[in-house]
């Protein structure tokens, strides 16, 4: 069994990501928490948000990196994040808001076997991947 992805995108989310990339260039995601539009993934032009040592790199959505605060991941890590889209209106400075669609983080609980596999991987911090991504993403 392969190590499962920590974050995945639904087909609808991939379609929206591609449309946003055509318009805005390379992208990035950061999982928000807290009030109002919190608990939603935020999508920015690549490099707009400074992912730092306090963040973890969870993987990519159609090639676009996805970060989450390390402390938040402590309590989210037992679930796989499934990024979907719903009709919606606004949310911080996330790029998709004017399209009338909104990214939404759904979830599924990892099995014990999956969690054991995930525990064998060390996650990179935001400051460890940022430069490589900027170089790769152009």
């Amino acid at each position: 069994m392969d190590v499962p992805d920590r974050v995945v995108a639904t087909p609808g989310a991939v379609t929206l990501i591609r449309a946003l990339r055509t318009r805005h260039g390379p992208l990035m995601f950061h999982q928000s928490g807290g009030c109002c539009d919190g608990s939603a993934p935020m999508c920015y032009p690549r490099g707009e948000f400074k992912a730092g040592h306090s963040d973890l790199f969870l993987g990519d959505l159609d090639g676009e990196p996805f970060f989450i605060g390390a402390k938040q991941y402590d309590v989210w890590g037992h679930t796989q994040l499934i990024v979907d889209v719903v009709e919606g209106r606004g949310a911080g400075f996330s790029l998709e808001a004017p399209t009338g669609m909104r990214f939404l983080a759904k979830a599924r609980v990892f099995t014990r076997e999956e969690r054991d596999l995930l525990a064998t991987q060390r996650l990179l911090h935001g400051d460890e991947v940022e430069l490589a991504l900027v170089t790769a993403g152009g």
Binding site: G34, C35, C36, S39, K50, K71, V75, P98, A105
Partner: protein
């Protein structure tokens, strides 16, 4: 019981304009790109007006107007500024019912709450800061016989404010009243989910302020909020919202070296010690009401008491009474009916997010004691965004205990003794609000001091009076609103260090 007529129906107390513009320099102005977005009422899921979809050009125009107005406003006598704030409050009070209905239609919350809480609190907020600014004094210190340090309070200049959609007018009042009282000009970006109430309000009170002192720019965060928050022409940014945007705003502010105040939400614990049930009296009843407060404003409150921590000695009885209480007293219904206690969630995506969290809670193995699904209302309300108040029972490390759902969802768990209660209460990323319920004053005091949160309601919950400081510990943000100390967040300190010694120092 009164059921208000829906806006635009015969005999309604509110008729919205078909289109709302930006408010810049004392006039309503179309956005430069002449784009608009539809504003939807969560009551029925239908659009009811269009609103300016602004861009950086509109933000710049608003900043121009604010910079023109700020110097004179900053030098306007505090008594005069206070008089204007009081007039704003008076005019809101004269139109309270109309504004309450506007707010209900824009946000979806029950009219009972806008009539009894949102509007009266917003009105009082202007009066409170009118009083504070008149009473504020600088200081002077006599450093020695010849040397005096004077400290004057000066306005910062032009302030950017970005406010949320859960209490649109009240959050505007929380931000605007201290900033304006302190002598600043403001550019305000309302939430795109609830732009109508603030527009109606600006039509109502705009003429009371000199042109340019208050500017309102509507639109989406990425198109209007970002140019405002990242502008090098603002002296301070105030924001209420979520953590990622809060960090981004700090990042922009670091580029401009300007201060920020941030209110970023929480996951507030509500602690119930065993002695609440020592007697069956009004107090026990009040404590259960305190539990049910998670459903207030449909749970769309940064301090929603969304984690109920219950002494294991009373858990069985508590669960029973809690379910009974919520089942009977927190039922989604027509927001225009004064008997309704739970209205609509503010937007479609908010509804979806809440439902996805309910789903996560179930998958994590939390037990659903009540609710757990969308509330399907009938007739005109069928398209609205309603959720059944939901009670989960589970473990504090579950995600439904750790993330702000911003819906009528509470997660209940038990504790074993005082230390365990405090450990669970503080096992969270956030620290905005908390509740403590006990008949024992010593326990209440010790718990209140031990919980890492900016406000600990003790034998009460969800009171928001002016003159009690509100703000967060940990990831809940920084700054303290709703108190005179907020003036400091909108002011510079000028020190004049003066020598009255006629003789030289003798150094050179």
């Amino acid at each position: 019981m009164t059921v208000y007529k829906a806006p635009h129906t015969s005999g309604a107390k509110v008729k919205f304009e078909s289109r709302y513009q930006n408010y810049i320099g004392g006039a309503f102005k179309a956005p430069r790109k002449e784009q608009y977005f539809e504003n939807i009422s969560p009551v029925n899921g239908k659009p009811f007006c269009e609103v300016a979809r602004s861009t950086a050009e509109d933000v710049e125009a608003a900043l121009d107007a604010a910079h023109r107005a700020a110097p004179a406003w900053g030098k306007t006598a505090p008594a005069k500024r206070a008089e204007i704030l009081n007039k704003i409050a008076d005019r809101m009070e004269q139109n309270l019912e109309m504004l309450a209905l506007v707010e209900t239609w824009d946000n979806g919350k029950p009219i009972r709450e806008t009539l009894a809480a949102d509007l009266p609190l917003a009105i009082d907020h202007f009066r409170y800061f009118a009083s504070c600014i008149r009473a504020q004094e600088g200081t002077c210190a006599e450093l020695d016989d010849n040397t005096v340090a004077y400290h004057f309070k000066e306005p910062l200049g032009v302030i950017a404010q970005i406010i949320p959609w859960n209490f649109p007018l009240l959050m505007a009042a929380w931000k605007l009243a201290p900033a304006l009282a302190a002598g600043n000009a403001v550019v305000l970006k309302p939430a795109e989910q609830t732009p109508a109430g603030i527009s109606v309000w600006a039509h109502l009170v705009g003429d009371l302020l000199p042109p340019g002192v208050l500017n309102i720019v509507h639109g989406f965060g990425v198109e209007a909020g970002k140019p405002l928050a990242s502008s090098d022409r603002v002296a301070k940014v105030a924001f209420t919202g979520e953590t990622t945007t809060g960090r981004l705003i700090m990042q922009y502010a670091s580029e401009n070296i300007v201060p920020v105040t941030l209110e970023l939400g929480g996951k507030s614990p509500n602690l119930f010690f065993a002695d609440i049930f020592d007697k069956s009296d009004d107090y026990a009843d009040k404590a259960m009401e305190g539990f049910a407060m998670f459903a207030l404003n449909q749970g769309e409150v940064c301090t929603c008491p969304s984690r109920a921590l219950v002494d294991k000695k009373i858990l069985g009885q508590f669960r029973e009474r809690a379910v009974e209480r919520v089942k009977n007293h927190a039922v989604p219904g027509n927001p225009l009916d004064t008997d309704t206690t739970v209205g609509a969630q503010a937007s479609k995506d908010q509804l979806e997010k809440i439902l996805s969290y309910i789903d996560i809670g179930k998958k994590e193995g939390a037990e659903v004691l009540l609710g757990g699904a969308r509330a399907e209302l009938e007739g005109d309300l069928a398209g609205g965004y309603y959720v059944q108040p939901t009670i989960f029972s589970g473990d504090n490390r579950m995600r439904v205990f750790q993330e702000e759902i911003f819906g009528p969802v509470v997660s209940m768990t038990s504790f074993d003794g005082f230390d365990d209660a405090i450990q669970i209460a503080n096992d969270t990323l956030y620290g905005l609000g908390a509740g403590v319920w006990t008949r024992d004053g010593n326990t209440a005091y010790r718990a209140g001091r031990a919980i890492q949160a900016g406000r600990v309601w003790t034998n009460c919950y969800h009171l928001y009076p002016a003159h009690a400081a509100f703000g967060g510990y940990k990831q809940s943000g920084m700054g303290r609103e709703t108190h005179a100390m907020m003036l400091n967040h909108y002011q510079q300190t000028k020190n004049l260090l003066v020598s009255y010694d006629p003789k030289p120092m003798g150094f050179f």
